[in-house]
């Protein structure tokens, strides 16, 4: 009886994930090896179950890497991959530059203030992502609030073009992903022992030296975690480049979307997805290792 219950407990979530997570990936892989066709669904070959084993063999024989070769030949794709990685990298650095001082300020604030500050960082995270991205359209447009302000101040003579450029994409990413950077850094800085800083200062360090030689190295795990938490999802980002970016903003998430919904080329879209996943596996594995090492160090 107990064994049956345990079996049931394992089987239900396991089966659910197999069916709705792993099998779909298998299908993506399968279609990425197929050829596109003017049919419904728009690809060949299809698995002919009535033919049994022979049907399966026929399907396997028709598979090729044509779509992947196509990805390397057409400039659009590898440029989009490179530019996604580059945009993700640069915005991670920017988010770190903006996020670290905030986390540092929070950790130095008095203890009764910390929960409130923490809630203020988390609150935007619960607010719709789409709305937060949207809020920048009104600010950054040529007739937006920022340009109105700058023109009124006399800083500029003609409105700046920011919306629909990569600059708007960077602003949008830093804005929406900032909590992911701030929270892990704050978590490590909060645990930092103030006595260490006092010791450093007693031993002749200036306040800045103490910060640089004690605080920064000890904050490293939080910084690394924050960077991964921003970098990994941003590589596949779709909403921000399509709302704030322009026609020259190339990001692979948007390319995949267009390939699927506009060009209706399912095999190429699937191949794009497979390669994107392969690119992301490297940072994901690195992140996992770092987290494990961190956990072991804390034990």
């Amino acid at each position: 009886m107990v064994n049956f219950r345990r079996f049931f407990l394992i089987l239900v979530p396991y089966g659910w994930l197999l069916m709705l997570f792993l099998v779909p990936f298998g299908i993506v892989l399968k279609i990425s090896l197929s050829d596109s066709a003017l049919a419904i669904p728009p690809y060949v070959p299809k698995l002919d179950l009535t033919a049994g084993w022979a049907g399966l063999m026929d399907m396997l024989r028709a598979f090729d890497f044509e779509n992947f070769i196509w990805l390397t030949e057409d400039n659009l794709y590898w440029k989009a991959y490179l530019s996604s990685v580059w945009i993700a990298f640069l915005s991670t650095v920017l988010a770190l530059l903006v996020g670290f001082p905030i986390a540092y300020g929070m950790a130095n604030a008095s203890e009764e203030w910390r929960p409130t500050l923490m809630m203020l960082v988390i609150l935007p995270f619960w607010t719709s992502f789409l709305i937060r991205v949207y809020s920048w359209i009104g600010i950054l447009g040529t007739q937006g609030y920022l340009n109105q302000l700058l023109l009124w101040l006399g800083v500029i003579d003609a409105p700046l073009v920011i919306l629909n450029t990569n600059i708007a994409v960077y602003i949008g990413i830093v804005y929406t992903y900032l909590p992911f950077m701030v929270l892990p850094i704050y978590a490590t800085l909060e645990k930092l022992d103030g006595d260490l800083l006092e010791a450093a200062e007693d031993l002749g360090c200036s306040r800045f030296q103490a910060f640089w030689l004690v605080t920064v190295p000890l904050a490293k795990p939080g910084v690394i975690a924050g960077c991964f938490l921003v970098f990994i999802p941003v590589v596949g980002e779709f909403v921000i480049p399509s709302l704030l970016g322009g026609s020259r903003t190339l990001m692979i998430g948007k390319v995949l979307w267009d390939e699927f919904f506009s060009n209706r080329d399912w095999p190429v879209a699937s191949a794009v997805a497979v390669v994107l996943l392969l690119i992301l596996i490297i940072p994901i594995v690195l992140f996992q290792r770092q987290q494990q090492r961190q956990q072991e160090a804390e034990r």
């Binding site: 709705l20 619960w126 719709s128 709305i131 447009g141 699927f260 994107l276």
Partner: protein
């Protein structure tokens, strides 16, 4: 004030929170703008809220979104709690590594890939796409978040409590219901809330998983926003922001109060002894 709190800290906190909150604040203020031209202030008015509530397409989408959110997050909470229990207390079983991999993978796989793969699954199964398929899709990725939240709670509490209940003659189910569940309840509730928010927020996966028969609010907002800023969307955003703010602030006050009450009860119990 903490002695380490410097001018630099004060400045970076002020600028940081201004950066986080000004865009939202501007959005809220301009939702009460009389003018159709969203960047020109023409006096206070609530007329866009009225127009919003008369816009049937938005109202229908809101109902679909709420329905999907409630059902999918409930399924996700049940499945996610089960998965967390299996991961933390389940011991060894065949394919455990694969199982934990499948729990953590959806957290890092880009939405476009999850969406695409689910759509291809639904098509190859010949399922009609609509509310049901969005619910399935949302339940799948939310259950992973729920299971991470719940398992961190399960790891931290003392397993001997469960063992004591079993020794005292409870069946495993009774022990779970009367010992484990009350202890992990806060994590289960916050898991549900997280799943619900993720579902309300999702654009990409819902767009892939849904068919022509079902449109969620984010899909509606996205197609409207592509044409530029509109006062109706500002009004809608303000309502959503208001709901979230009230929800988050009241939950944090409640958790703080229960923590204080529990500490007082514990102290009273110690004093009685």
């Amino acid at each position: 004030m903490n002695k380490r709190f410097s001018w630099f800290n004060a400045t970076s906190l002020t600028l940081g929170f201004a950066f986080l909150y000004l865009p939202i604040l501007i959005l809220v203020i301009y939702s009460f703008n009389e003018s159709k031209l969203v960047t020109v202030w023409a006096g206070f008015s609530t007329k866009w809220y009225g127009e919003l509530f008369q816009n049937e397409a938005f109202m229908d989408a809101a109902i679909v979104t709420l329905k999907v959110g409630v059902i999918s997050s409930t399924i996700a909470t049940v499945l996610g709690t089960m998965a967390a229990y299996v991961l933390v207390r389940g011991g060894r079983f065949f394919g455990r590594t694969l199982f934990s991999g499948m729990i953590y993978a959806p957290l890092v796989v880009p939405d476009v890939i999850t969406g695409l793969s689910l759509l291809l699954l639904f098509i190859s199964l010949g399922v009609d796409r609509g509310v049901t398929t969005i619910v399935l899709a949302h339940a799948t990725f939310s259950m992973c978040y729920v299971s991470v939240v719940v398992s961190s709670r399960l790891v931290s509490f003392d397993q001997s409590l469960e063992e004591a209940a079993l020794d005292l003659g409870c069946t495993p189910w009774d022990a779970f219901r009367s010992v484990t569940l009350p202890i992990i309840a806060p994590a289960v509730i916050s898991g549900w809330l997280l799943a619900f928010t993720l579902s309300l927020d999702d654009l990409v996966i819902a767009s892939f998983a849904s068919g022509p028969s079902a449109t969620t609010l984010p899909m509606k907002i996205f197609s409207a926003v592509r044409l530029g800023v509109s006062p109706e969307i500002n009004a809608l955003s303000t309502i959503l922001i208001g709901i979230v703010t009230v929800g988050v602030v009241s939950t944090s006050i409640i958790t703080k109060r229960t923590a204080v009450r529990r500490r007082m009860q514990e102290q009273a119990a110690v004093a009685d002894r």
